[in-house]
Amino acid sequence: MADGVSAQRPLPKLGSYIDTKEFWEGARRGKLMLQYCTETQRFQHYPRPNSLYTGRRTIEWREASGFGTVYSWTMTRSAWPGHEARLPYICAYVDLDEKIRFLCNLVDCSETDVTIGMPVEVRWDRLSDDIVFPDFAPRRSWK
């Protein structure tokens, strides 16, 4: 897979199911923002209207470390519509230090580099003037 990031993908439709402004505003500033349940002291992702744990609206947004490890990954050789120009690309589940699993692309690495458990960190892909999307890449100090 090519190094670096690619803008050749469909833009996310922001706020298409709940208000996710905090996430996308954070992304523009290079901060990975996650929902945090103040009652159970646990993070959650994807964003939901209520706490996944209590069912109450006991949630606020907090900045996450941006660090995690690869839980699993797959080399995509047949594209999801709109991603044809990026083939092949790596999709991964990353377990963040905040104890949530995050679906993302792994960038700046080839399939021979990737191992389960590999430390990774967030990288920001500027898709448009307004939209920045999180990818993950091998942690610099580790590589």
């Binding site: 996310p12 199911y17 992702h45 594209a79 949530i100 692309n105």
Partner: protein, 430 residues
């Protein structure tokens, strides 16, 4: 109905204890409460409601036919073969589809189009669980007196229609990554399984070849898939989402299927064969509040043992296995989670067990979705129909010799960063 049920279980030593418990509890329950009580023990060895007929179209890819027409075919077959008049059908469960579900009144339209005036009408939106889930709910509706003769219908022309949008978090947190839907999600499961236990491709190849062998004997299987394959064909098939290959997956097709249900008493009156759904367990969103749970584990760890307990059976009693098969790895995971073998030992089990229709544990004897074709969201009914057909003794060249029971399963929905949404197990008994 009750003495009949007791008689049928006579001689099943493993069921004896359950029978006694059931008898004790049933006799202690006031008449007026028995319906409610039975509902809580859906199935639970009950033989008061039966599947008395089944129908299925041929499966084909881009058939150019649409869901209503395909549904018309199966209704016609049910009425023609199973001694029931359209005017007698007062219950209808309709599965959601990929091709028509943009219509929010889909079930209501389907009843209208087919000329049915149900007093119980259900829209099932559990993906591959919709058919067995529909059977379970129809049994409850019949017991509760909401209807007396029900059709559980699934019809989808996914390969000829437009796929509707699932929305929610997908537009923001899934689609921009290009994860290739179920194929990508199961590629992740396979990679994780390989990491934890070692993935033996030979076992997956064996499953592929076994099911394909069955499809060759199934006239309803998609013609494009009715060609023999070897284990080498599987092992050399194209990688789509490593380590997942083309031959790990289903091909999306068009097709429809339905079962007919009524009380055992009605079935006897009409001289119809009767198959009893004696156990059913369903669970959506296993370990949802544990975001870092293993994706190689699933709700089948709960619903498999639960359904077996309801039926008073153990896995070694199961005489044919009809698991939901969107991907080969899903079959292996279900074998492990339901308890046919230990977690991580699925490959050994598959390689040591003859799973052909002649074998110790016949597997998806119509070819399953992977080798007969997946008729969109009607796919959950495909393996159910095959189990009923076999239990009616109508399996033709692939008939299983001894088949007092079958286990049929369903998987529905692919959520964010987990494995699947709903897991369900139904046990059918003679």
């Amino acid at each position: 109905m009750y003495p009949d049920f007791k008689l049928k279980l006579h001689g099943w030593t493993k069921s004896t204890e359950i029978v006694h418990l059931y008898e004790y509890a049933y006799n202690r329950t006031k008449n007026s409460e028995r319906h409610e009580w039975s509902g809580r023990f859906l199935g639970g060895c009950m033989r008061d409601v039966a599947i008395t007929g089944y129908a299925e179209t041929k499966i084909d890819v881009r058939s150019g036919r649409l869901s209503y027409e395909l549904a018309g075919d199966v209704l016609d077959e049910l009425l023609r073969r199973f001694n029931v008049d359209k005017s007698e059908i007062d219950g209808l469960s309709v599965s959601e589809t990929m091709s028509e579900s943009a219509n929010p009144f889909w079930a209501q339209y389907m009843a209208d189009v087919l000329g049915i005036t149900p007093s119980w009408l259900e829209l099932m939106g559990l993906g591959g669980v919709s058919s067995i889930g529909g059977v379970a709910r129809a049994a409850l509706a019949i017991r509760a007196g909401m209807c007396s003769i029900a059709v559980v219908l699934a019809s989808d022309a996914q390969s000829s229609g437009l796929t509707p949008e699932q929305g929610a978090q997908r537009h923001e947190f899934q689609y921009p990554t290009g994860l290739r839907g179920p194929v990508g999600a199961f590629g992740m499961i396979m990679r994780r399984y390989d990491h934890l236990y070692g993935l033996n491709p030979r076992a997956l190849a064996r499953l592929a070849v076994t099911q394909r062998g069955h499809a060759l004997l199934n006239d309803n299987a998609c013609p494009r898939l009715r060609k023999p394959i070897s284990e080498e064909d599987y092992l050399s098939s194209k990688l789509v989402s490593d380590p997942l290959r083309v031959l790990d997956s289903v091909m999306v097709c068009d097709g429809a299927n339905a079962v007919l249900m009524m009380s055992a008493k009605q079935a006897a009156k009409r001289g119809l064969k009767a198959i009893y759904p004696t156990a059913y367990a369903e669970l959506s969103h296993y370990k949802l509040t544990e975001p870092m749970t293993e994706i190689t584990e699933s709700g089948f760890k709960v619903v498999g043992p639960k359904a077996l307990r309801q039926a008073g059976l153990s896995v070694s009693d199961i005489q044919s296995f009809h698991p939901y098969d969107d991907f080969l790895i899903a079959i292996m995971l279900q074998l492990e989670h339901i308890g046919f073998c230990e977690q991580g030992k699925g490959a050994d089990f598959v390689l040591d067990t003859d799973m052909t229709f002649k074998g110790r544990l016949p597997l998806n004897t119509g070819g399953g979705q992977i080798s007969a074709g997946q008729p969109g969201l009607a796919g959950g009914g495909l393996n159910l129909i095959e189990a009923v057909r076999q239990m009616f003794g109508e399996g033709g060249p692939r008939q299983i010799q001894n088949i007092r029971n079958s286990m049929v399963t369903g998987i529905g929905g692919i959520p964010y960063a987990r494995n699947w949404g709903t897991s369900a197990v139904m046990i059918l008994e003679q």
